[in-house]
Symmetry: C2
Subunit: 235 residues, 2 copies
């Protein structure tokens, strides 16, 4: 393993202060396409094993640049947290013969209480074991493992639901600082039936403190069912 990496900034707009949900539809679509295009290009460098796409918005979420932007970091190894997620999904698949993501989406659609919103291609959920208040996950209904492997029409659909969900968040929580990140399969892995790429959105409302650092457990004062209901109620 060498220490080579890449770090890129995606400038989302020429408007300095605009947040993602207020971008024009075409502009938001350009952003999610830019993620794909940059992944495809960086992928040509064989020293990269993983690319994390993420957004830090607001100082409390660690943003050091004010202008609306998101980021890609390419790493020469698969990160430990990604390995853990992949292994968990793989074990579930081996034991039950089904994708945990398929089961998760099916169960949430039946119960409905934690669903924030869905369109033809994506569903946004306040997950059962949310670590943070108003944490949300956005998952594709077409269970592909790689973000860059999506069908063309799905990028349009993704831009739409991300604009909508982040817009709901801004209405309910009055423009909080937030992070989102794309959990993607490793660059060099084949298409995987046990893993589905997805986005985690984490509004930065509470501080991670001694208990969380010491245990890996998270104290979350807001039930995901309540979070989802508040998010659904704003239009």
């Amino acid at each position: 393993m060498n220490g080579v990496g890449a770090h890129e900034i995606v400038i989302e707009s020429n408007d300095h202060a605009i947040d993602f949900p207020d971008l024009q539809d075409k502009r938001a679509e350009d952003v999610v396409w830019a993620f794909r295009d940059r992944i495809m290009d960086l992928k040509k460098d064989p020293s990269f094993e993983y690319i994390l796409v993420f957004k830090n918005s607001g100082a409390a979420a660690g943003a050091s640049i004010q202008h609306t932007h998101s980021q890609l970091i390419a790493t020469p190894m698969v990160p430990i947290r990604v390995k853990q997620k992949m292994r968990g999904a793989e074990e579930y698949y081996e034991q039950r013969g089904r994708s945990i993501f398929a089961d998760f989406i099916r169960a949430e659609k039946e119960k409905k209480v934690r669903v924030v919103e869905e369109n033809d291609d994506f569903i946004a959920i306040a997950p059962f074991a949310s670590r943070f208040p108003f944490e949300m996950w956005v998952l594709p209904k077409n269970l592909v493992s790689h973000y860059e492997g999506m069908e063309t029409r799905h990028y349009h659909s993704l831009a739409g639901i991300m604009k909508s969900v982040l817009g709901r968040m801004n209405k309910v929580l009055d423009f909080p600082s937030y992070n989102f990140l794309i959990h993607n399969a490793p660059l060099k892995s084949a298409s995987l039936s046990y893993f589905t790429w997805h986005i985690e959105i984490m509004p930065k409302l509470v501080q991670t403190a001694g208990f969380e650092w010491g245990t890996g457990f998270y104290i979350n004062p807001v039930a995901p069912e309540d979070a989802a209901r508040h998010m659904r109620e704003v239009g």
Copy 2:
């Protein structure tokens, strides 16, 4: 597993605004004894498997009470992060027949560059793989696995080095918000030769952001050698 737990607050002083390093020696010693006494008492309840002792100081470190205090949380299971640490230490011991903590302390004492301070019984180190700027670990030289299993005279010595190290931190970083937490062996485990209890101190200078959440890797702009040197230089 049931959901029963306990949460206790240790009031460190009747002075509202005093920080740990400014406590009188006897008072600081009372605090580290209180941790032991409360562990010994909570241990009588067989439903508890682990007790985390920690301190959140300042709003940025997640403190919701201003008055100087620390906390204990007893949990009915061994937390995932503790299990991972224990497993890592056990594997090291199985492979090499030596404690990773013994090797760690020996190596750092030889190199000296990351040692902040030591007394007869404890050593404070800016660890090689610091996740956060000015992160510091305090380790007992007598390698016992359980905080509550220390010899009586060591509590005095621990209070002394904690006062001194946190005092250095306040001088170098101008009273930052910070967390510290005691990594202890599980309540019901026997005395373990592969694990040594220790304290992690984490000044809250940077935000954990998208990259850290997505990868489990930490971007730390301050080399631990520089952090240790700054800490040593203030008296």
